[in-house]
Subunit: 577 residues, 2 copies
């Protein structure tokens, strides 16, 4: 066996703290706003080099490498093939796809010594499509799914939150090439399963949610969010069934029917009232009895009125998808409002307007409502559709709220905060068409390939895992991505030869069992050592002391448990493996 | 065990060719000059994206990942700690070290959206020194050795030879921090051993050679060369003992003594003679009887004469280290030659010159020699040191030649071609001094840290391994870095269920034994399949056919063997593991 095994790579499990570089700090850095950023700096996982640029110290890089390994294995299992494309990309390809002009200042552009233009790759659709159009000639080679794990750069205008929104970061980006929509859907579904496997294995609580597919009609788009209160995104899911979507995409279900008109329409004085809250307060009614009117327009479309129930929020993505708007959406300015409604923004209402009125489904079910009178300092009360103004065009315009009925499969909607760590998306022929990536089909005829793209934010996962799993003592790593799986803390090893021997023996035993174990052999007081290890968030802690040894025992603490427990020495392995 | 193992990463061994992307070509690409570049393109390991920019296809990336894994493990074993620094580096750090101005156009500079200056890192001395000066405060933390495996960019004026001299490439760069020269030497020696382990494990024939340390006097510098006839560098080693050096550094040993003067000095006519070869031919003597005189100068030093035996070559690095020159060295121009010797370049000689004459040791031992007469179309014969001109200053000025005595430990020198794949170097305080990286020593006094730097060209190793190991059929990979370790080639599997079953069984058996095996299940003729696998260079090939199955046999071929052999089915594993 020797000839074969001697060249194999065997990852070294285990490390002595004295030979590692542990660099913790008690103070919370004052330029770090969120828990993960603070803790990663305090625990010495990362160091800032410049705006949005971070070095990964040994402790942090262990986390990154474990995340990469899980992703790589699940991609391989799903039949994706790993490649590696250059980071520096020639501008010519981006000109072919049309993105050299369209991509904003996030694209870091540069010139080489011969004054040729390049960018530092923020994503690789152009490069992979260029490879595919040269490599793939026949339908027989399809489907193919390539991925890479690579450093990207996006020149964020305001990088923040440490590696959560850094300029340089590591991504897994994958691209499938398919003949026909059905094959694309299969690749997409495979990636969905693989992504679930990735986040399941990492021990993270997450949701896969439907997302808006932008301008590509009908294409599927799904985001993977790690749930955390600090998350920037609102994630919607149903208490029953599978339904989940991001806020942009979540479908609002309107329930109930319109009540009968019971009041006469009257004009009321509302001096100084400009908002729904002010209106409801002054009239002492619920905001849900007020109608909110917003005047909007697209780039080349005229001003229209969108109306919502007073307690509802406009969903701008839904509004942009209205054929009457066409994205991007802008709010009408004061002059446009004056021209359309003859008043200021706080007094608009749909009665008597000569522009199209589009109502959210819930707004269309209101009766005896209050709305602006299109006259400053005046509102109308007792207003009713059909009687006082024409029936509106009815659409889903609002953000869902907690308790809304699920649009699919029963249950009601819940809203939680999430951090987007993955996105799978059907690109269709967006790139393959413009860049001419086609194959010969079974009949020998050229067919443009369809593409899917599949991204995972490797370094962002590290931050998201911390946002989800931390307490006042520090980070709490899930096993699969912990920098170390277990730590041995010997008490007063400098003075006790027995403790030293027992700790060394335990270290060897855990290493041999394949546990990635840290032996904290630094000459530290127990309190300082424990604080370091809790800050670093190692899942399993084993304490060795003279007192414990006398009873052949070990003190064990699960990082998630409230208390440590005394266990027989023989039970150590059973706590981990 | 399940709870523990389910989150572990287990690399998948084995791949079906039908589910892989094999993209071979028969034609040698006409823009590829050397074997490795041609073969990497033909076998589908890499694809060109732009000048000096290559994508790694799945087959090639498997090689890169295996090289990385060997390097990573040996670095970890040697106690080095892996980090990852940003690729994009702020110019401020380079200004601190003084390299922002000094580094030439190979440094790819760019501006971000806020017009701040950065470069794409070609190396990371500045960044690691910045980290060290903030992280390392006490001598107790030393020594420390950090490394990373990362994509670098050097804007080569003329990228060529594929990934051998690409602009974007992967390097392992490591940096040690030490207190005192002795500690630095220890780190350096550890890295020397680790580098030898790396190249030993990869199964490459290589030499570790002394290299010139440039302007840092006394610092050690050692290069690791993979030997290959196509190598750009000349590597010198002794037939006995350990001595090895690159050509720049190799010490020339002068043997024998000066003969007695037996001829009178005479001026001879040599019309049209401008070179040593012409001189030796016209006089029908050996070039070693002629003396070569070169006039050189440093940037701010006057012209001096360097003389060598006619058959010897000037070693410019040695000349640059002369105190009389001071680098960089330039050859005197025609005007300077005229002023110093009153003739043209082809007729200079040391007799009667009024500038310093420095002779190589072998030139100083010549007697009755021929040299230029400092008069066009004239030479002097029968010249003797001391009698006809003063004894020169004697120095080692020449390149060594095959058969020279080794300067250390006996034996004679051999010269072979090599490809530089690694370099370890004692930086001393070059960066730590200018960037203020110091620690408190045992007495509480600040001491500037010393640094070593240690590089390995990961992607270049792939090319160098091919240059060293190939034949007319293709690449011949060493086991440790082969894209696959073994391949199963079934004959006519489409028609024979027995072959299919036997091949599948063998595939499973090899996978279970941990062999990284390719199952070539493509519907190809045997000839085409064998040609592909020989081109790709998989070390072990197993052929399954109905005929072989009848005798319970397998055809086995070691890629390095001249012939295949028939072996009992039961012996398959013994050929690999």
């Amino acid at each position: 066996m020797a000839r074969y095994t001697e060249h194999r790579t065997i990852e070294i499990k285990g490390m002595r703290a004295s030979q590692f570089h542990i660099s913790t700090a008690k103070e919370t850095p004052n330029d770090a706003e969120i828990a993960s950023h603070q803790l990663m700096l305090r625990a010495g996982l990362i160091r800032r080099l410049g705006s949005g640029l971070y070095s990964w110290l040994p402790l942090g890089l262990r986390v990154v490498r474990k995340i990469e390994a899980v992703v790589r294995e699940e991609m391989n299992k799903a039949g994706a093939l790993e490649v590696l494309m250059p980071s520096i990309q020639p501008s010519e390809l981006w000109q072919e796809s049309g993105r050299w002009e369209k991509f904003g200042p996030e694209l870091l552009r540069l010139h080489d010594r011969h004054n040729r233009e390049y960018c530092v790759g923020p994503t690789h659709e152009e490069v992979i499509t260029d490879i595919a159009r040269r490599e793939i000639k026949s339908y027989r080679q399809l489907p193919l799914n390539f991925y890479q794990i690579q450093t990207k750069f996006r020149d964020e205008v305001r990088p923040r939150f440490g590696v959560m929104r850094a300029r340089e970061f590591i991504m897994k980006d994958g691209y499938s090439f398919n003949l026909g929509a059905e094959s694309l859907q299969q690749s997409f579904d495979q990636m969905h399963v693989a992504y679930c496997n990735v986040f399941d294995r990492m021990g993270l609580t997450y949701r896969a949610v439907e997302a808006d597919s932008g301008s590509i009609g009908g294409a599927q788009s799904r985001e993977f969010h790690v749930l955390a209160d600090s998350g920037e995104d609102a994630v919607v899911y149903s208490t029953e069934g599978e339904y989940a979507a991001n806020m942009e995409k979540a479908v609002a279900v309107s329930q109930g029917t319109r009540g009968e008109a019971s009041q006469a329409m009257e004009t009321i004085d509302t001096p100084g009232v400009h908002t729904i809250t002010e209106l409801a307060t002054q009239l002492d009614i619920d905001e849900s009895k007020c109608l909110k009117t917003l005047l909007v327009q697209g780039v080349e479309t005229p001003v229209i009125a969108l109306v919502l129930r007073g307690d509802h929020q406009l969903n701008e993505v839904k509004a942009e998808h209205l054929p009457e708007v066409a994205s991007p959406l802008t709010m009408a300015d004061a002059a446009a409002i004056k021209a359309a409604a003859n008043c200021d923004a706080g007094s608009i209402g749909p009665v008597g307007l000569s522009i199209p009125v589009i109502a959210d489904a819930d707004a269309a079910k209101m009766s005896d409502f209050v709305c602006g009178a299109n006259q400053n300092d005046k509102h109308l009360s007792g207003v009713n559709w059909d009687r006082d103004l024409p029936e509106p065009i009815v659409r889903d315009l609002r953000n869902v709220v907690e308790g809304d009925a699920s649009p699919v499969g029963g249950g009601t909607l819940k809203i939680v905060r999430g951090i987007e760590v993955g996105h799978i998306f059907q690109l269709g022929d967006t790139y393959s068409q413009s860049m001419g990536a086609s194959v010969l089909d079974e009949n020998g005829k050229p067919q443009v390939m369809l593409m899917g793209c599949y991204g995972i934010g490797i370094t962002r996962i590290a931050a998201a895992a911390i946002e989800q799993n931390n307490d006042d003592k520090g980070m709490i790593w899930p096993m699969a991505i912990a920098p170390f799986e277990a730590v041995i803390c010997p008490i007063n090893m400098v003075k006790s030869e027995a403790v030293k021997e027992a700790a060394e023996a335990l270290y060897n035993e855990l290493k041999e069992a394949g546990v990635d174990v840290l032996f904290d052999d630094r000459p530290l007081r127990p309190g300082a050592m424990f604080a370091d290890m809790e800050l670093i968030g190692i899942p399993h802690r084993f304490v060795v002391s003279d007192k414990l040894l006398a009873n052949n025992e070990i003190e064990y603490r699960d990082r998630t448990a409230a208390e440590s427990v005394i266990i027989p020495r023989a039970d150590v392995l059973s706590k981990i493996v």
